[in-house]
């Protein structure tokens, strides 16, 4: 029983972070029709920058208890790197998607070395703040309270994003642009601005996700390319372009991985890809995707 709770908690924590990155991927794909391979780089960027930001803040005399808000702010701030990148992507919106995949692949390669240059090749960890909130007893399992806070933060972001897209005026404009860019422009929408906004928000989701995950582990050069395939698994399972799909897909991948790690460690990632393949055979468009392929 405790083992089960352990798996569920671990899986949900992982899923919470995965959801943020996948949501960024879905948002950008939904509006700009670009599959952003660099989403993993944004995640890693958030993680590295989070470590630096918290380090500086503590040096400036910040009480360690405040590190969670610092991380979120750091993630949001570094997410602004999406703006200049969107300027480059703007040149290829009307091109074939193979070029769009390739250009983001180019960014992924470049980021790899930016990390190596700025933060070095050895993995970086955050100093002793992970357990500053103590641990909580959850159905007989002791978990770091931080993990629960991250799950809550991720849920709050999910709800906030949903409200933003469904209820606000800008959200409606974003959805209209996603539906039909030319028509939206005909109605007076400045699509360039919407694209810049959407890409930056997508980027921020990735960087915040990375910043939130790093206290529990380490930031390393591998995390970018590894997360790309995981978030791809999430969007394929959930269905490309669907936010609900990202949520469900992230839970499936997160729980599946956690279960595999505790039962058959060899199957850690294999199990995830197997789920992807099965989903695609049974429901080709993903669980929440539109029925076109």
């Amino acid at each position: 029983m405790t083992e089960l709770v352990d798996v569920i908690l671990g899986g949900t924590f992982h899923a919470a972070v995965l959801f943020l990155v996948a949501a960024g991927l879905q948002l950008v794909f939904g509006v700009q029709k670009i599959v952003n391979l660099a989403c993993g780089s944004f995640y890693a960027l958030g993680a590295y920058f989070g470590i630096t930001a918290v380090g500086i803040a503590i040096k400036l005399g910040m009480p360690p208890v405040l590190f969670l808000p610092v991380l979120i702010v750091a993630g949001l701030a570094i997410g602004l790197v999406g703006l200049p990148i969107e300027r480059v992507l703007r040149t290829i919106y009307r091109r074939d998607e193979s070029y769009q995949l390739l250009i983001t692949f180019g960014f992924l390669l470049m980021f790899q070395d930016v990390f190596r240059f700025l933060w070095g090749a050895t993995p970086r960890t955050m100093d002793n703040v992970y357990l500053v909130y103590g641990t909580t007893n959850f159905l007989g399992v002791r978990v770091p309270t931080y993990n629960l806070l991250v799950i809550a933060a991720s849920l709050a972001i999910a709800v906030g994003l949903g409200l933003f897209l469904e209820r606000t005026k800008i959200g409606r404009i974003v959805r209209a642009t996603a539906e039909n860019r030319d028509m939206a422009e005909g109605l007076g929408v400045n699509a360039s601005k919407i694209f810049a906004l959407v890409f930056t928000v997508g980027c921020m989701l990735g960087t915040v996700g990375g910043a939130l995950v790093v206290p529990s582990g380490a930031a390393s050069l591998d995390m970018a390319v590894e997360l790309v395939v995981e978030s791809f698994a999430v969007v394929v399972i959930g269905g490309l372009g669907s936010m609900r799909g990202a949520l469900v897909g992230a839970l499936v991948v997160g729980l599946m991985r956690a279960a595999a790690i505790s039962l058959v460690p060899e199957l850690e990632m294999l199990s995830v890809y197997l789920v992807v393949v099965v989903v695609l055979i049974v429901r080709p468009a993903g669980l929440f995707g539109k029925a076109t392929a």
Binding site: V35, L37, V88, T91, I92, R95, E97, S98, Y99, L101, L102, I103, F105, G106, F107, L108, L109, M110, F111, Q112, D113, V114, R116, F117, V225, V228, V229, F232, A233, V235, V236, L240, P265, E266, L267, E268, M269, L270, Y273, L274, V276, V277, L280, I281, P284, A293
Partner: protein, 337 residues
């Protein structure tokens, strides 16, 4: 009479529809230059040419899928991995050393795997196809990576020196690779290039191009879309397997990185660098990629940044790749426009 209207439109159409016999000549010319290289180039340069041959063969197949059929696979390194591990398993576990047997087995194994993978993947096009192939590539990678007892995990597996044409070759590793093996691989490259040229010029190749241009119309005139795409996928996988075998013998090692998705990305990079719209383009791309990567790695440890920047600039400013740009320049000089 109708001269005026002819002036405007047909040029673009004609350029697209006309076969490009110069594609094959470009490839054979490249191979001819490489055949005389052992007399002038250093062993180091020759060792660099071996991965180029491996990648070129894989890219000939890859481009049948990408350039001709219009399907972008982001998991094609899967078949490089299959070819490499076939060679590794056969040489170091079963003691099979005949290179011909290695090639045939690699081709068969990748063909069989691609039949299954392809049947699931080619129902999709565009980005969905890319993501699915990526998932399958990573499936294979994590199998290689995690099942330590079978595959050696991240250590990889050794590939022993094979026998060429049943003969054992004495001498050091470099002498073997830059001597007999170099020519063997080069001849194989030429033969596979000729075969691929026949394939692209055959009615089958025409079907594939028709599918790329407009799948709906192609189906309407009787093209069996699913079968044709699957056939293209299997052929490209066989080329990938053979290319992977050559790569593995060159390095003497089969490791999981061969099947990693960034390696697939490099394949796409090479194809677009050379120009996927032409027959010899991908091979030229492989050459430039291998040489450029080697050069950049020799001057800075931040070579990924340089390669990434090259890729970004390439996509933005030269989407037709090197060969496409040269072709456009040549057209302009011939008074085209």
């Amino acid at each position: 009479m109708s001269n005026q209207s002819i002036d405007i439109a047909p040029e673009a159409v004609a350029r697209r529809a006309a076969p490009r016999p110069n594609g094959l000549w470009a490839l054979l010319g490249l191979i001819a230059v490489m055949a005389v290289m052992p007399w002038i180039a250093s062993p180091y340069a020759l060792l660099l040419m071996l991965p180029f041959i491996g990648y070129s063969i894989a890219l000939l197949g890859f481009n049948l899928l990408f350039g001709t059929t219009g399907l972008l696979s982001f998991g094609h390194a899967l078949f490089l991995g299959v070819g490499a591990y076939t060679a590794a398993v056969l040489t170091s576990k079963f003691g099979v050393l005949s290179f011909e047997l290695l090639l045939i087995t690699a081709a068969l194994v990748s063909g069989l795997i691609s039949l299954v993978v392809g049947a699931l993947c080619v129902r999709y096009t565009r980005i969905f196809f890319g993501m699915l192939t990526l998932a399958f590539g990573m499936l294979f990678h994590s199998f290689l990576f995690k099942f330590y007892s079978v595959t050696g995990g991240d250590q990889g597996m050794r590939v022993l020196r094979p026998l060429l044409l049943g003969m054992e070759w004495r001498g050091g590793k470099t002498a073997f690779l830059t001597g007999p093996f170099y020519y063997y691989a080069l001849i194989l490259f030429a033969l596979l290039g000729l075969a691929m040229w026949r394939i692209t010029q055959s009615p089958f190749g025409l079907h594939l191009r028709a599918i790329r241009e407009n799948a709906g119309k192609a189906a309407y005139v009787g093209v069996q879309i699913f079968r044709m795409r699957l056939a293209a996928f299997v052929i490209s996988a066989i080329y990938g397997g053979i290319g992977g075998t050559i790569l593995a013998v060159t390095t003497g090692l089969a490791d999981p990185e061969l099947a990693y998705w960034t390696h697939s990305g490099n394949l796409v990079f090479m194809a677009v660098l050379g120009g996927s719209g032409t027959f010899a383009g991908p091979a030229i791309g492989a050459l430039v990629f291998v040489v450029l990567q080697d050069f950049v790695m020799s001057i800075t440890q931040y070579w990924r940044f340089v390669m990434g920047a090259v890729l970004v600039l390439l996509v933005v400013f030269m989407p037709q790749g090197l060969s496409g740009t040269i072709e456009a320049l040549a057209n302009r000089r011939h008074g085209g426009r």
